[in-house]
């Protein structure tokens, strides 16, 4: 069921170094979010994407700037990959007025609509039909845009997944479904609750959609696969599905120590860190270790400054609680 796999040129050293740096920014941001949570400066919950950077950064590198992206509560990496700054993300997590959503959203709802990153949704699977709708809209408006929904392995078992994929296929819409299969839905192995081995790719045939599995920790492989599927979709050949196998470094959320994961498994995946994979490729392209380290240092500095700026930012004005319900800006529901 796999679409024609035309060769996609790998990124050159300069581009790959840029992708590496983007991933490093995500990594440092997630580490900062984790630390800030533990120190009490981030309330509620966080679902960190450390370990899954290559999916967001690789996919993003394959998209046009005006393509639409929909993500989940584990969506910091997607917001960052689509142009949100660490400062506006961390400010949101820290309940600051300068947060991406003015502190009305929080960690689970990072959104940067001006960059066509149309939101992070916290009801599993709910955004898949939305992405289908955005793709439908793009087709109706004739803009050549595509829409991409990122979701977890666990989301493949919910009804909205099924309805979204069928409608996308029937209407031949330019939408990509990118599953970040990190092997777990919260604390339960996905294999325990799913009838097939590759929860997304093995279902694609049920919708006549080409499905591929890719190493989600290899930014180059992800970029290549998304480039191919996006090309198909943009050409009017309909939706595509990519299952990116990856792993989260932290627990599911907050302070979850993820004790349910076998030590051997964790170790194996930590050895296959997306940053290391990219570093290996950079070495192969002849980029000196010092340049990679420098990229990492720039990322660390950026995030460090972002943390400080976010800390210094003011809390939202309480009056903001009663704005933004309606398009007129207010919340009036009665005379």
């Amino acid at each position: 069921m796999t679409g024609a796999r035309e060769a996609v040129a790998d990124p050159d050293a300069t581009e790959l170094l840029a992708l590496y740096e983007q991933m490093a920014v995500v990594r440092h941001t997630e580490q900062a979010a984790h630390d800030l949570f533990l120190s009490g400066l981030v309330k509620g919950t966080t679902h960190l994407a450390a370990g899954q950077e290559a999916v967001a950064v690789g996919a993003s590198a394959a998209l046009r700037e005006d393509d639409y992206v929909f993500a989940t509560y584990r969506g910091h990496h997607h917001a960052l990959a689509r142009g949100a700054t660490p400062e506006e993300c961390l400010a949101e997590l820290m309940s600051r007025a300068s947060g991406l959503c003015g502190a009305k959203g929080g960690s689970m709802h990072l959104t940067k609509a001006s960059a066509h990153m149309l939101g992070s949704y916290a009801i599993v699977g709910a955004h898949l039909p939305m992405a289908v709708g955005a793709a439908w809209s793009a087709r109706l408006r004739g803009t050549g845009q595509i829409a991409v929904a990122f979701f977890g392995d666990g989301a493949t078992n919910i009804g909205a997944f099924h309805e979204a994929l069928n409608l996308a296929a029937v209407w031949t819409l330019p939408v990509l479904f990118v599953c970040e299969n990190n092997l777990y839905m919260e604390y339960t192995p996905i294999a325990d609750v799913t009838a097939v081995a590759s929860p997304a790719a093995d279902r694609a045939p049920a919708y006549g959609i080409p499905g591929e599995v890719v190493d989600g920790n290899d930014v180059v492989a992800v970029r290549g696969a998304v480039t191919r599927l996006a090309g198909r979709a943009r050409a009017g050949d309909g939706p595509g599905l990519l299952e990116a196998r990856t792993y989260r470094h932290f627990g599911h959320s907050r302070a979850d120590p993820a004790a349910y994961r076998p030590a051997e498994e964790v170790e194996r995946w930590l050895k296959h860190d997306p940053l290391d994979v990219a570093r290996g490729r950079l070495t192969g392209l002849g980029v000196p270790a010092g340049e990679v380290d420098a990229a990492d240092g720039r990322a660390a500095d950026l995030v460090r400054a972002a943390v400080e700026a976010a800390k210094d930012a003011p809390a939202p004005d309480p009056g903001q609680a009663l704005t933004d319900v309606w398009a007129d800006g207010g919340a009036r529901w009665r005379t």
Partner: protein, 326 residues
Amino acid sequence: MADVTTYRQAVAEGLAREMRRDPAVVCLGEDIGAAGGVFKTTAGLYEEFGPRRVWDTPISEQAIVGAAMGAAMTGMRPVAEIMFADFLACCWDYLANEIPKVRYMTGGQVTVPLVVRTANGGGLGFGAQHSQAAENWALTVPGLKIAAPATPADVTGMMAAAVRSDDPVVFFEHKALFAAKGPPAPPGHVVELGEAAVVREGDDVTLVALAATVPVALAAAERLAGEGIGCEVIDLRCLVPLDAMTVLGSLAKTSRLVTVEENPYQGGWGGTLVSIVADEGFGLLDAPVRRVAAACVPLPFADALEREVVPTADKVVTTVRDLSTY
């Protein structure tokens, strides 16, 4: 223009007018295309606007409303049909958690100008899963506008307002009214959402009704007039925005309130309205407030049973008569 039309035709007319006006308006739903919808409320649209504007869907309520949401966020003005209001339950996540919250939770970054149309209410003998008045479900969710017209002209005029609204609107079309006749909406007719209509004036008791209970309240008022009791009948037309001021204004005159609701008493819209009145209008009241609402049971199939359960003119008459002696 014909000088009489049906509520059913007024739906299609309302949609057609907006589709002619604005190319961003597109319709989607089950069997709404060549078939014209199971209630024929989209009749003629496919013929006039073609398959690029009128889309038949699979039986996938989540995909229908979810896709409408995605399209609305990206420049279109979709009108999604959910065939029966009961089926809103199959895509409730979109109505409860996604559509009404996304603007707020993104700090105002996105706008969701869509309409979800649905056939609401009982009276046709469709049984428990196809007859509910579900407007009160939507009332539990801040961020949805809720329209429920009672006449053909209001259908067309409120549809114009709903489609033009930059806010999401749930548009309840009442099954028992589809065959009802009335004057058509004049060209360009727009009935702003949130304005109740005083459809009969009276001095003794205020009856507040919505959609199919408007004719019930009017019939009761007519009979009560014969007994010397003057009822003012208010058609709320919308639950959100809720025009509480028109109700309070009427109570300043009548001092007595009866709501006529098709939704069940428990959790019904009358509760919200009455609580506003019991607070802001307490000083106006000369008598207890009564709610003639559906009994707290599912809708039974047989007419003989359904009559027991839903508001009827008889029940309104009895309630008002009783109240006017308080």
